[in-house]
Each structure stands twice: as structure tokens, then as C-alpha cells.
């Protein structure tokens, strides 16, 4: 028991929390942006897989790590554009289209990976983003290793939260996006084009999701293999509800979730006689629990999943 508590005092646990949270932060921000504009994007799981593959592949084929990130974002936005075209101008079922994108993007990623990369006994690796050690700050006891020795994309994720929160809450663009998710007719009346706003929101959101995916293969780990996203996309969809569609709370949710994930990983080493699968189940059970707690009170965007057709009410 004391061993389990000792784990909490270990700085490596808290450093891992930020690392594990990073793909979730990108993913949840992406999903949040899509949903704030009124489009549920269940393509997230596949888009993260696609990002994980394309980003890694770019580096594997000799590209820069940042080029990998950019390629991942681009591949994600292409999938996002596909989802947007099907669900916004055509107004098709967002559930089915999203699932289709997930199946398609994952299958395509695995196919291209197998086609381009020769896999031996072990999957080939790349040189991933190295943790920074910011001079002076990283020497600060406790906080140094936790906050100031992360990889660059982690800081990028934190920056993205601030930018997203500010843009949505304080800029005309953010207002237009939020209004499109609440009442697209009012947006049209303002002379803006809700269809265009939704398409671009989904494209941008999907790019963020893919960047989250590529963090897995170019920073947290150094190779790509099938099924590696492991439901993180679905967890992001749950976190958006948990966060009541607010970027700040989304960050909190991602951190909380990552804490439990990091803790269960370490708990496995101290607690004996408990099947490891029970620990691995914890994050998924937790997500369902969180949904039950907040779903009733959550302020869902009014026009979420309602296709907009001009001149139709």
C-alpha cells in the first residue's frame, strides 16, 4: 500500500502524465473544434492512426521531424476534408461517415505502411523528438523534470490549448464557429457561410487529431505498428463531453486521464496477483464513468449532428 502511495511522489510519474496527455490534448482539441462547429468527427481514431503513420514515414524516408509533423497534419486534413464533404454539403449521417473514415484511414495507413516499409522481425525505428532540457529551469528540483524536460510537441500542445481557448472565446472567427454549432441559420443571416465554416473547422480539427497521432510515433515511441492508437481517439470523443466542449476543461480532462493511465502502468509493477488486463481496462472504464457523471449536465452545442441545408428549417 505504501509502495502504491510512494509512486505518487515519484517525479517520473508526473513527467509521464504530460507525455501521455499530449496526444490526447491534440485529439480532444481537434474533436472539440469539429463539434463546436456542429460536426461529430468519429473519424478521429483513423485520423490519429493516419497521422501516426504518415508522420513516422516522412521521418523514416529521410524527412525532418517537423516535416513529419506537417505531413501528418496534411494527411489528417485530407481525411477531414473527406468527412466534411460527406457530412456538411451532402448532409450524410455523421455517425456512419465518421466510422467509415476511421475504417478507411486505418486500413489505408496499414496498407501503405506494408507497401512502402520492409518489416523484418522488429518494426524499423527512427530517431524521435528528444526531451528538451531547458537551461536553469530544468535544474529546478521536482518541477524541472516534470515541466521543463518534455519534448517540443508537448509544449506545442499546451500552446494549442491557449490558442484554441482564446480563438473560440475572444475572436470573431471563434464566435462564428461557435454560432455555426448552435444556430447555423443565424450565421447565414449574418452574411457568413455556415457550410464553409463547418468544412474548415473539420479540416483544421482533423489536422490537430493527426498531429496527436504522430506524437505517438515520433516522440512517445519511435516506430509504427497496427492498432497502436488503442482507442485514444474514442477516449478523446468522451473527453470532449467530459469537458463540456471547453478547451480549458479539455486540457484538465486529458491531464486527469493521463494521470490515471500513468499511475495504472506503474501500479502494475507494485501490485501483485492482479491480472494486468484489469489495469489496462481502467482507462476505458474511467471514460465511461466520466461520461455518466457529466452527460446529463453537459451543454451540447444545439446544432451538433444537425445537417444544415440552405433554406430548410
Amino acid at each position: 500500500m505504501t509502495e502504491a502511495l510512494d509512486l505518487l511522489l515519484n517525479t517520473s510519474l508526473w513527467a509521464a502524465v504530460l507525455r501521455i496527455a499530449t496526444p490526447l490534448i491534440f485529439g480532444v482539441l481537434g474533436a472539440l473544434l469539429c463539434e463546436r462547429s456542429g460536426v461529430l468527427n468519429l473519424g478521429i481514431e483513423g485520423i490519429m492512426t493516419m497521422g501516426a503513420m504518415t508522420g513516422w514515414l516522412t521521418v523514416y524516408l529521410g524527412g525532418d521531424l517537423w516535416a513529419g509533423l506537417l505531413v501528418a497534419a496534411l494527411s489528417g486534413s485530407v481525411m477531414g476534408l473527406l468527412h466534411a464533404m460527406l457530412t456538411v454539403p451532402l448532409g450524410l449521417s455523421q455517425h456512419v461517415s465518421g466510422l467509415g473514415i476511421t475504417l478507411f484511414a486505418s486500413a489505408l495507413s496499414y496498407y501503405l505502411y506494408r507497401l512502402i516499409v520492409v518489416v523484418g522481425d522488429l518494426p524499423p525505428t527512427i530517431e524521435p523528438f528528444a526531451p528538451l532540457s531547458i537551461p536553469i529551469l530544468s535544474q529546478v528540483p521536482v518541477l524541472g523534470p516534470i515541466l521543463f524536460s518534455q519534448t517540443l510537441p508537448t509544449y506545442l500542445a499546451l500552446l494549442a490549448v491557449v490558442v484554441m481557448a482564446y480563438t473560440l472565446a475572444r475572436t470573431p472567427l471563434g464566435l462564428a464557429i461557435r454560432m455555426t454549432g448552435e444556430n447555423p441559420h443565424a450565421v447565414e443571416a449574418q452574411g457568413l457561410n455556415p457550410i464553409r465554416i463547418r468544412i474548415w473547422s473539420v479540416v483544421a480539427g482533423s489536422a490537430l487529431m493527426a498531429v496527436g497521432g504522430t506524437f505517438l510515433t515520433t516522440a512517445a515511441f519511435n516506430s509504427f505498428f497496427p492498432e497502436m492508437v488503442q482507442g485514444r481517439g474514442w477516449i478523446c470523443i468522451a473527453l470532449v463531453v467530459f469537458a463540456s466542449w471547453r478547451p480549458g476543461k479539455a486540457l484538465l480532462g486529458a491531464l486527469l486521464f493521463a494521470f490515471f493511465d500513468a499511475y495504472q502502468l506503474r501500479l502494475q509493477t507494485v501490485v501483485e496477483d492482479v491480472p494486468y488486463q484489469l489495469f489496462l481496462m481502467a482507462p476505458y472504464v474511467l471514460s465511461i464513468g466520466a461520461l455518466i457523471l457529466v452527460a446529463r449536465r453537459a451543454r451540447v452545442p444545439d446544432a451538433l449532428m444537425v445537417p444544415y441545408r440552405r433554406g430548410e428549417r
Partner: protein, 347 residues
């Protein structure tokens, strides 16, 4: 110019739509096959002969289609009522697990045991979907996310059981449960092949679901709930009761798929026994435009793609993941094709 919903979809359109969707998907996937340096046409010929070229391959394809018919029916029943059951994979596994579990302990003659085991698998699948359905009705939790997350939970649970209490000490290599008693194995439909009478059960299930949906009050209530929940409530249909009924039926069908796969093919449960039967069931249901008869045809098509792609991959070196790409593309193209059939352009 605007879009207008058709009151009635003409039969010729309803039949052409999936064919057109499949044709477009195959053309697009042809580009990917060409990228692998293989002629798409000869690859598709390889696929066809690989899946339908011999008695052995046809029976193998139908063996693969059996669980797909059942998971496809599960998705079709649920989607008709706008209950987004994406948990077919989890329901498949829980059905398989419970069947293998009881099938090892049960001591009754085969003809009595087999129906009991299938019923147990169905009950397990039904209960697993009843939970998220209850959460939706009671706490308004979206069932998409909960059913998806339950898939991961159930597969981990299966892993826990086959490495723990149900572990087969005789199995070396991959962990597997103790096989069910030989008396409970489903008899072969075609001698000396893997095709078992579970295929007939799947066809029977499709017929029963068809009758339920088309000829019973419950079927009509399901349709009403899916088309317009508000209007259905106004007409005196209890939405919670209908949705719960749909959830039990849908979960039971996916659970049956798991039970039949254990009794007919694998004899035991493992974490790797499903190449995504639950998820492919969604594609099957959509290709069938959610119609039970269409589900059988769509399942056979999807099974042909999977079995054929394996053979084609062995012959040409094109990664067998092409099957998943083709199936996923079909889902997207079918979605568009369905819109073309349900709407028409009015000037």
C-alpha cells in the same frame, strides 16, 4: 434546384445503388493495387478465383460470411432504430467467451447442449448492449462512445480469462480457453471442409429478423423510432421500451455470431479469433441498406473480399490490408449511393 426526399425508393434504384457503390470502390482501390506494381484487373481475377474458384474456397468464404451475416444483422437492426451500436465486436467476444466457458462445464447430450450454448451466447451479447442502452436512456450518455469503449474492455476481459481461469493447459503458444466438448461442435454442412451448419442458422436468423421487422408491431415501432423519434412518441410508442428491445435483439445477434464461431470453427475462445467481425458488420449492414435480405448478400460480398484478398496477397504480394481498404471504401461510397436513392433533384 433542391433536394427532395423520395416517398418511395424504386426497386431498380435500391438494387443498383450497392452495385454502383462497390464498382466505384473497386475502381479506387485499383489505383492502390496499381501502386503496388500489380495489374488491378489481374489482382481482382486472383481475388475472385481465390474466393470462389474451388469447392474448398467457396466453403471457406461461406464460413467467413456466417459471423458477418449475424453481426451485419445486429448492426442493421440497431441502426434502423438509430441506436448506434458500434459494439458488435465486444458483443461477439462476450458471446464467444460465455459459450466457451459454459461449453466446457456443461454435461448434457449435444442436441440439448448446442441450443443452450447458443442461447447463452445470445444472452451475453444482449446484456452487454443493454448496459450502454440503459446509460443512454437513463443518463443520456451517447451510446457510440460507450459501445466502442466496451469493445476494448471486453477484449481485455477475454484475455484475462484465457490467461487465467479458462486457460487451456494443453495449448502451447497463444493463450486459449479449454475447448468445448466435442458433442457441442456444430456438424459440417459440407463434409471435409470447415463450413458448418451455423451458416444455416445465420440464414434462419436473417429470415426471422426480416419477419420481425416487416410483419410485427415491434418492427413497425422500431422503424418509427428511427424515422422520427418525436412523432413515434406522439403516436404512443414508448421510446425507451422500443430502444431497449432493439438493443437486446441487436446484442443477441452479435453474441450469437460469437457463439456460432466458437461452436462451428474455433472450439475455444482466443483474443485473436475475430478479424474485426463486429466492425465489418457495420459495413455489411450499410451495404445492405439495413435490409435483412441484403445483409446476407452483403456479408457474402465482404467475405469474398476478405478471403479473396488473402489468396491474391499470397499470389501477387499486394498487402492483404487491401481487403480492409476496399471494405471501408464501400461503406463511404454506399453512404453517397444511399443518398442518391433516397433523395431526388427537383427543379
Amino acid at each position: 434546384m433542391r433536394l427532395e426526399r423520395r416517398a418511395h425508393v424504386p426497386l431498380h434504384l435500391a438494387l443498383t445503388a450497392p452495385l454502383a457503390a462497390v464498382a466505384v470502390a473497386l475502381c479506387l482501390a485499383g489505383g492502390l493495387i496499381a501502386a503496388a506494381g500489380v495489374n488491378p484487373l489481374s489482382a481482382y481475377v486472383e481475388m475472385l478465383t481465390g474466393a470462389l474458384g474451388s469447392r474448398r474456397s467457396v466453403t471457406e468464404m461461406l464460413t467467413r460470411a456466417t459471423p458477418l451475416i449475424l453481426t451485419g444483422l445486429a448492426a442493421a437492426v440497431a441502426f434502423r432504430a438509430r441506436l448506434w451500436n458500434i459494439g458488435g465486436e465486444g458483443q461477439f467476444f462476450i458471446g464467444a467467451l460465455v459459450t466457451a466457458w459454459i461449453g466446457h462445464a456443461l454435461a448434457v447430450p449435444g442436441p440439448i447442449g448446442i441450443p443452450i450454448l447458443m442461447a447463452a451466447g445470445m444472452a451475453a451479447g444482449a446484456l452487454l448492449l443493454a448496459v450502454p442502452a440503459y446509460f443512454r436512456l437513463r443518463f443520456s450518455v451517447d451510446e457510440v462512445v460507450t459501445t466502442l469503449l466496451l469493445n476494448f474492455i471486453v477484449i481485455l476481459f477475454v484475455g484475462m480469462m484465457v490467461e487465467g481461469p479458462l486457460r487451456d493447459p494443453m495449448a502451447f503458444g497463444w493463450p486459449s480457453s479449454v475447448p468445448v466438448d466435442g458433442d457441442f461442435r456444430l456438424p459440417d454442412l459440407v463434409p471435409r471442409t470447415r463450413l458448418h451448419i451455423g451458416f444455416l442458422f445465420a440464414l434462419a436468423a436473417a429470415t426471422i429478423v426480416w419477419v420481425i421487422l416487416a410483419r410485427t408491431v415491434f418492427g413497425a415501432e422500431t422503424r418509427a423510432a428511427g424515422l422520427n423519434a418525436q412523432a413515434a412518441t406522439f403516436a404512443g410508442i414508448s421510446l425507451p421500451r422500443t430502444l431497449m428491445g432493439v438493443a437486446l435483439l441487436s446484442g443477441a445477434l452479435a453474441g450469437l455470431a460469437g457463439a456460432v464461431e466458437v461452436l462451428g470453427v474455433t472450439a475455444a475462445v482466443t483474443t485473436t479469433m475475430s478479424p474485426g467481425f463486429g466492425y465489418a458488420g457495420i459495413v455489411v449492414a450499410m451495404l445492405a441498406a439495413l435490409h435483412p435480405a441484403g445483409v446476407v448478400a452483403a456479408a457474402i460480398f465482404v467475405a469474398t473480399v476478405f478471403v479473396g484478398a488473402d489468396a491474391m496477397s499470397r499470389a501477387t504480394g499486394v498487402p492483404s490490408f487491401i481487403a480492409d481498404v476496399i471494405v471501408a471504401m464501400c461503406l463511404l461510397t454506399m453512404l453517397v449511393a444511399l443518398m442518391v436513392t433516397t433523395y431526388r433533384v427537383r427543379r
